[in-house]
């Protein structure tokens, strides 16, 4: 167990397995990380699906009720215009006044439409941004776990760092972390078992001059070294 290196905090509270290695000497310096809006859309399918659903739903509700509002307002305006026309039909001098009132009410109705469209578009934009952030809190942990999965695929079982504060799926991530640690610990324990067996057998095989076993132990040592690297 003592031969397996323990995880070391190397930078910004992150563990060695998570910190990308710097280019060795001659490479170009790494560009500072810039947070982009596209980074918030980590799982487009998952996030856009929910965003579109809520946005379209809000749009439909706002559109339907907005149309009802306009309809009611327009009905009231039309009624007032008709009454005014009936009242002023005998007096030609009041025609200008009637036209003025009608134009004023039509302008108010139009302003109402613009106001509602503006509020609706603003609502959709704000809602979309908020939903991107909200879904990012689910997509972020999934993305992080996916990266760990990719490492596991390559046989690399480094340390797993915690999620950011505010991220969702903490329970799921906890399960993953537990599994990852269990697999890593087991493999480390296997390495120790294999290593101690190899050390014990090598002394015997070398003393007895058994070349076949020595070759097998050499291969086992190689395997153990590679595995140790993977478990860093």
């Amino acid at each position: 167990m003592s031969d397996v290196p323990s995880a070391t905090v190397v930078q910004d509270g992150k563990l060695g397995g998570d910190v990308p290695k710097r280019d060795g000497g001659g490479g170009k310096p790494r560009e500072p990380y810039k947070r982009k809006l596209s980074n918030y859309l980590l799982d487009k399918r998952l996030q856009l699906r929910y965003i579109l659903l809520v946005t379209v739903l809000s749009g439909v509700i706002s559109g339907s009720l907005g149309y009802l509002i306009y309809q009611q307002r327009h009905a009231a305006s039309e009624s007032i215009e008709r009454d005014l026309a009936a009242l002023t039909q005998d007096d030609k001098s009041l025609k200008d006044f009637q036209d003025q009132v009608a134009a004023g009410m039509a302008a108010e109705d139009r302003a109402l439409i613009y106001k509602m469209v503006g509020v609706g578009v603003g609502l959709v934009i704000i809602l979309s941004f908020y939903l991107v952030l909200m879904t990012h809190k689910v997509a972020g942990p999934l993305y992080k776990i996916s990266m760990y999965f990719d490492r596991m695929k390559e046989g690399r079982l480094g340390n797993v760092t915690a999620l950011r504060r505010g991220d969702m799926l903490q329970d799921f991530f906890g399960n993953f972390r537990e599994m990852h640690e269990a697999v890593r610990t087991r493999l480390q324990s296997d390495v120790i078992t294999m290593e101690s067996a190899a050390v014990a057998l090598r002394a015997k095989a070398t003393a007895d001059g058994r070349q076949g076993l020595v070759d097998a132990l050499d291969a086992l040592d190689k395997h153990i070294t590679a595995r140790k690297k993977q478990l860093l």
Binding site: R73, A75, K204, R210, A219
Partner: protein, 399 residues
């Protein structure tokens, strides 16, 4: 293993696999919709209330035909006025001269406005009538007043107005008032109390009130009501009428009944329209509430189902995590059709495969070492025994 495996039952509880995630997203969706529905619904109702108020005002503003006031004897018609004064000679006598029944005596009840008009007409017609009288003798048929075609019931009702006219004449000449049968009489005049007290001391004025069943007299602008019952005791006068001297000629407009019917029909139509508008307003309210509630319910169910398609794969992966933690690397099955996080699941599958590969590599290397040790005659070595145990565990984990 003799017992049958219990059949899996899908229940609603199983849809909520990850309560925190699923409820958060569902509640957000429902919350946004609820806020929008409530906010815009209130706005809709505000506009609907305004539109209804405008429409109601419009309905109320439509002028209905007025109920013809019986106290106004029509001065524009050529029909003779009702001779209410029983002392007047009946104009229906065939012997009577062919005098037009527009004489002031013939219509003592007509109002002041009608009187001059009638006088003018009478003056205009008088020369013609005189000329006609000079030219040819009066024909009894023409002089005879026409019988009214009005329903006698209406005539009776009309006659009932005479009492009101009397009240008007006695009470409302020096003061402003509008007498109505069986309703308090409201007086508007300076020094109203003195005026009312004076009048109540007048037996004739009190009698007029009693005949019209007016219970109290009030001064406009407040003040103490004066009870007619407490006024001067009723005087009982015996009046004898000679039946032969009573001739009542009804002069109600011929369309009196039609106008009343038209008035009430119009009022009922207006009331119906107003009621319909109010019902329409309420309908909008109930439709909004109903739609909102249905939307919330539908969204809640849909939200849980939708998020289940994410929570389901996560739940499945969690089960595999538990197995891997316990050292069991079983076969990984595919997701159900329609589930989300397919890419994520593929990543997990490859990770699982990576761990399996590592185990297999270990297995192969351990096997080779054991075989070499066996060949070297060191199969009984304690380290080889440890390796055999490790090999068995790894083989079991891959089963």
């Amino acid at each position: 293993m003799a017992g049958a495996k219990p059949q899996y039952k899908r229940s609603w509880k199983n849809l909520l696999l990850n309560k925190r995630y699923q409820l958060r997203f569902t509640l957000f969706m429902v919350g946004v919709s609820a806020v929008l529905m409530t906010g815009l619904g209130v706005w809709v109702m505000k506009e609907a209330n305004e539109a209804t108020t405008v429409a109601m005002a419009r309905v109320r503003g439509e002028a209905c035909p007025k109920i013809p006031e019986v106290i106004e004897v029509p001065g524009t018609t050529d029909e003779p006025a009702v001779p209410m004064n029983i002392e007047d000679a009946p104009p229906a006598a065939p012997e009577a001269p062919a005098e037009p029944p527009t004489d002031e005596k013939a219509a003592p009840v007509k109002d002041e406005k009608a009187a001059p008009a009638k006088d003018d007409k009478a003056r205009d017609k008088a020369p013609a009538a005189d000329e006609a009288a000079e030219d040819k003798p009066a024909e009894p048929k023409e002089a005879k007043p026409e019988l009214s075609k009005v329903d006698p019931k209406h005539v009776a009702a009309n006659n009932g107005q005479a009492d009101l006219l009397a009240v008007k004449a006695l009470w409302c000449t020096d003061a402003e008032c509008k007498p109505e049968t069986a309703a308090p009489l409201l007086i508007k005049v300076k020094k109203c109390d003195d005026y009312v007290k004076d009048k109540l001391a007048n037996a004739e004025a009190v009698d007029a009130l009693r005949k019209t069943s007016i219970p109290v007299v009030k001064c406009e602008g407040g003040g103490e009501p004066y009870s007619v019952a407490d006024a001067e005791p009723e005087r009982h006068a015996t009046v004898q009428l000679e039946e032969t001297s009573m001739t009542i000629t009804p002069t109600l407009p011929t369309d009196f009944a039609d106008r009343i019917v038209a008035h009430h029909t119009c009022e009922m139509r207006q009331a119906g329209s107003i009621n319909a508008l109010e019902q329409g307003r309420l309908r909008i309210l109930w439709v909004l509430i109903g739609t909102g509630l249905l939307l919330m319910l539908g969204l809640a169910l849909y939200g849980i189902k939708m998020t289940h398609k994410v929570a389901g794969p996560l739940f499945k992966v969690s089960l595999y995590f538990a197995k891997m933690r316990d050292g069991r690397l079983d076969k990984v099955y595919n997701l159900r059709k329609g589930d989300q996080l397919v890419d994520f699941y593929e990543h997990f599958k490859s990770a699982h495969a990576g761990v399996v590969t590592m185990e297999k590599d270990d297995l192969a290397r351990i096997k080779a070492t054991i075989e070499a040790a066996d060949a070297a005659g060191l199969g009984d070595h304690a380290s080889i025994a440890e390796l055999r145990t490790l090999l068995a565990r790894k083989e079991k984990s891959l089963e």
